[in-house]
Symmetry: C2
Subunit: 239 residues, 2 copies
């Protein structure tokens, strides 16, 4: 009789993903190896392949963990005791140092949208990642629909609501993307680099406020409302 396994399959899977995070942080999203992850997790390469089928599959598994983290975090923000536009702008007022899951969040996110990665991932992890991403989409749809239903937001039709929702998402994603590029690529001549957490006068907040206020909210987003949102995030430990 072989000894009882030390870990349940679920625990072993968490070990593998934790080890992968460590290995990627030490090397890179390109440079990590399955062998190094197995070693770090204290498992054989064979055992590791029970959980992920390839390097690409591992990235999709990590992206799934990341999407669930985002779902949880954004869910808390969208449920906060603030007006709807305050809750939206709060997503850009978070302190990444207090809310990010991996140091390589943004790169992982983009990598796992490449066909080459998706083609080499397992159906199992792909389905989980898609389901996690969809759950975030649905949460935002419900949020905006709720703002319209409650009368907090006055929109002409569903298209207008969809445009607002996608615009907010795009701005948020775009600011993160550009900040990343500029911070890493930065030469000394670069000015205006952002410091996190963002302040009300920083351009991502100003632009989001401007875009939000082109819509008819019961209470448009004022400077005071942004300050109050910051206070709330500090109280929640996210700023």
């Amino acid at each position: 009789m072989s000894p009882a396994p030390r870990y349940s399959p679920e625990e072993e899977q968490e070990l593998v993903l934790d080890a992968a995070v460590g290995c990627i942080e030490e090397s890179s999203l390109l440079g990590f190896t399955i062998g190094a992850i197995a070693k770090r997790a204290g498992l054989s390469v064979g055992s590791l392949y029970k959980h992920v089928q390839s390097k690409e599959d591992l990235l999709v598994a990590l992206a799934t963990r990341q999407a669930r983290h985002t779902r949880q975090l954004y869910g808390e923000i969208l449920d906060a005791d603030l007006s709807a536009p305050q809750r939206i702008i709060s997503l850009s007022l978070l302190d990444p140092a207090k809310t990010r899951l991996f140091s390589f969040d943004e790169h992982l996110n983009t990598l796992v949208s490449s066909e080459a990665i998706l083609q080499r991932a397992s159906q199992g992890w792909l389905a989980q990642m898609r389901s996690a991403a969809e759950s975030i989409d649905l949460m935002f749809r419900d949020f905006f629909q709720g703002a319209a239903d409650s009368g907090e937001l006055d929109v002409a039709n569903e298209d207008e609501l969809h445009t607002l929702s996608m615009g907010c998402w795009s701005m948020c994603a775009g600011f993160q993307h550009i900040a990343l590029m500029r911070n890493v690529r930065g030469s000394e001549r670069q000015e205006h680099l952002l410091n996190y957490p963002l302040q009300a006068s920083d351009y991502p907040i100003v632009c989001t406020q401007r875009l939000l206020n082109t819509y008819r909210w019961r209470e448009p987003l004022s400077a005071e409302a942004i300050e109050a949102a910051c206070e709330q995030l500090i109280a929640m430990g996210y700023r």
Copy 2:
């Protein structure tokens, strides 16, 4: 005496980069090998290493080529015979099928902003990539400053100008980022997927128009002005 080389160093470098593009398109940004690139370019691995020092260096070299392409393309758009807000929104009205350099543009862009890649790239290619990126930044700065100087745009101060410029860039980057994610990751339940080139009623165009029109332009961006911009892009072969 050895035979005269078939190619100049510059020509050889172009061969290497062309071969790299082909190899990456066949495998992926993660999966390509230096050996396969050398074979495709008809060069020895030793000759190849005269041009790029590592896989990471090669990605930076390709990102440099990409940035120069973007500089050229955006330069043409920003010089077009259109109003300033028309020229800005034109950047989102381009047909990617007619203007993109690589099929992996967006992923490359994000990859080369990762520390892990940058650390393994050569100083030579890094300097060239940064200089190309900076030249794009300067072009946009001059464009917005020109709009303010000519009286086409009325801004209170430099901060307001900077916020507008960064807001436009972020939106444009954010829409591309999200479209990529959704298109690739897309489940059947997803609605509203964008088709390119974008139409005036698509959310990236509506949101950009809304943001632009929160500023004081001599001629705010009307639906007719967007149509006229589309016509101009068709005439230029970019739509």
